[in-house]
């Protein structure tokens, strides 16, 4: 069971109150977590990754276990603590984003 914490506006959009729980096959990677997230919450498609390019949207960041995963390869295994559900994957809106 993977835990994902979303920013306020995406929680509202997905109609979830707290952290999202997902079933993700091993090895647990960023791509697999996002695929599972978008499958479970289709409204989030395009809000984290661009619909066309599948690239991370410019003003979003991924943090896990106090590390910045925003620029890591999407197929790299996430930390064991995330893969086992002890620590969440954090989706964070950059402080410079929005308007």
């Amino acid at each position: 069971m993977i835990l994902v914490e979303l920013p306020h506006h995406l929680r509202t959009l997905a109609q979830v109150g707290g952290a999202v729980t997902l079933e993700v096959d091993e090895p647990v990677t960023l791509r697999r977590v996002l695929d599972a997230l978008e499958t479970q919450y289709p409204v989030l498609r395009g809000t984290i990754r661009d619909h066309g390019t599948q690239q991370r949207r410019a003003f979003l960041r991924f943090f896990a276990c106090e590390q910045d995963w925003s620029h890591e390869p999407v197929d790299a295994p996430l930390p064991e603590a995330v893969a086992t559900g002890k620590e969440p994957l954090l989706v964070i809106g950059a402080i410079a984003g929005g308007s």
Partner: protein, 392 residues
């Protein structure tokens, strides 16, 4: 008795203002989609309870929302919570991808960047939603970077009409201050194949075959910010309005200049007349008097606020040239707001109501065609768009 429903898009959410036909006592609901930019909302002429909304964010991109009960509740078409991957396409209502397919698309060329160099096309947001006049499931979307999309399934999925972006002049289009946006879509009520659109800063375009082919309709426009002031494209058209009672007669608020066309855009002539400044964004036409038009003059392209701190709507009852200031009830000192291009609308009641919103968060109504004004609300977030539904 008829009533009105005013759909207000703001920088931080959507609001719906309702009143009976007297337009004196108002109910305010919202914010819907709190914290998001709502560029535009518009109801279907076929089913007034069907309302489409463009919800967008610098962080999270584009969301399309739809209401089927007059704005009480909203859904993202096809994007709701769905536990199983099987079934209908998921999340497609947010998907605006330019059509570059060999079968139906157009090559994704470059357009002109601010500095005159070429720049790739990149989708950013939906500026304007225009529901079909005959089918509640059909709706057009004007987007940034400029292109026209269409949904035929109530907003579940979107397909580009690539003939516009691909017709050949795209590399000459450039962004205006708000981006390179397709912000105006005007449907001809008598000819479903005819659509007008406008792009900043490319100009106006028309299709006569339902969006397959397009041609620039900018003859008569002059713009000092492009090397050839009479060029076929490159003009910063801010908005176009047309009376449904008289299709083919168009009024345009250009960057500078208020323009008029009597031949469906084939040629334009300036009708700025005695306006104190002919810079502005919003323009609209009286619901019953096709020669009565309204603009909200803004000081200049460098000073996006009313002249001398006096908020004024100017009205012409002669289709242009001769204008009069409508100020009763509007602030006449220390007012430095803007009125954006999609933030003016008219209702269809016998005594035509005129509405506009400001970047200061006010929405004003004149229930008597512009003679007298009063604020419906004063303290909303900056208003991006105003549309009015007249409901029997």
């Amino acid at each position: 008795m008829s009533r009105v429903r005013v759909l207000v898009g703001t920088k931080k959410g959507a609001f719906i203002l309702t009143a009976d036909g007297k337009r004196e006592s108002w109910e305010v609901s919202g914010p819907f989609f709190a914290g998001w930019e709502i560029y535009h909302m518009k109801g279907s002429a076929v089913n007034p309870d069907r309302i489409y909304a463009s919800q967008t964010s610098g962080w999270f991109g584009q969301i399309i929302q739809r209401s089927d009960d007059g704005g009480k509740t909203w859904t993202t078409p096809g994007g709701g919570v769905q536990k199983s991957p099987e079934g209908m396409p998921m999340g497609e209502s947010n998907k605006f991808v330019y059509d570059t397919s060999a079968e139906s698309g157009a090559p994704l060329t470059t357009h002109q960047w601010y500095d005159g160099t070429q720049h790739p096309w990149e989708f950013k947001r939906v500026w304007h939603l225009e529901p079909s006049l005959t089918d509640a499931e059909a709706v057009y979307a004007g987007v940034e970077d400029a292109a026209l999309f269409q949904s035929k399934d109530g907003g579940h999925s979107w397909q580009e009409l690539p003939g516009l972006r691909g017709h050949g002049t795209g590399p000459q289009w450039q962004p205006g201050a708000g981006g390179m946006c397709l912000h105006t879509i005007v449907l001809d009520p008598k000819d479903p194949e005819r659509i007008y659109i406008a792009i900043s800063a490319a100009g106006a375009f028309r299709t006569d075959d339902g969006g397959k082919t397009w041609k620039p309709i900018n003859k008569g426009l002059r713009s000092p910010f492009i090397p050839d002031q009479d060029a076929e494209v490159g003009h910063c058209v801010h908005h176009i309005a047309m009376s449904p009672r008289r299709p083919g007669v168009l009024f345009m608020q250009k960057h500078w200049d208020v323009m008029r066309s009597d031949d469906a855009g084939d040629s334009w002539r300036e009708v700025s007349g005695n306006l104190p400044t002919d810079f502005g964004f919003a323009i609209d036409v009286h619901a019953h008097e096709p020669e009565t038009i309204y603009v909200a003059p803004i000081t200049s392209d460098s000073l996006h606020y009313p002249m001398d701190g006096k908020l004024q709507v100017w009205r012409s009852r002669t289709g242009g040239h001769e204008w009069e200031a409508m100020t009763d009830g509007l602030p006449q000192k220390d007012c430095y707001v803007n009125v954006l291009r999609d933030a003016m609308a008219v209702d269809a009641l016998d005594d035509c109501g005129v509405y506009f919103g400001t970047t200061g968060g006010q929405v004003y109504v004149s229930p008597d065609g512009g003679d007298h004004w009063k604020p419906i609300v004063r303290d909303l977030p900056a208003v991006l768009s105003v549309e009015v539904q007249t409901i029997s």
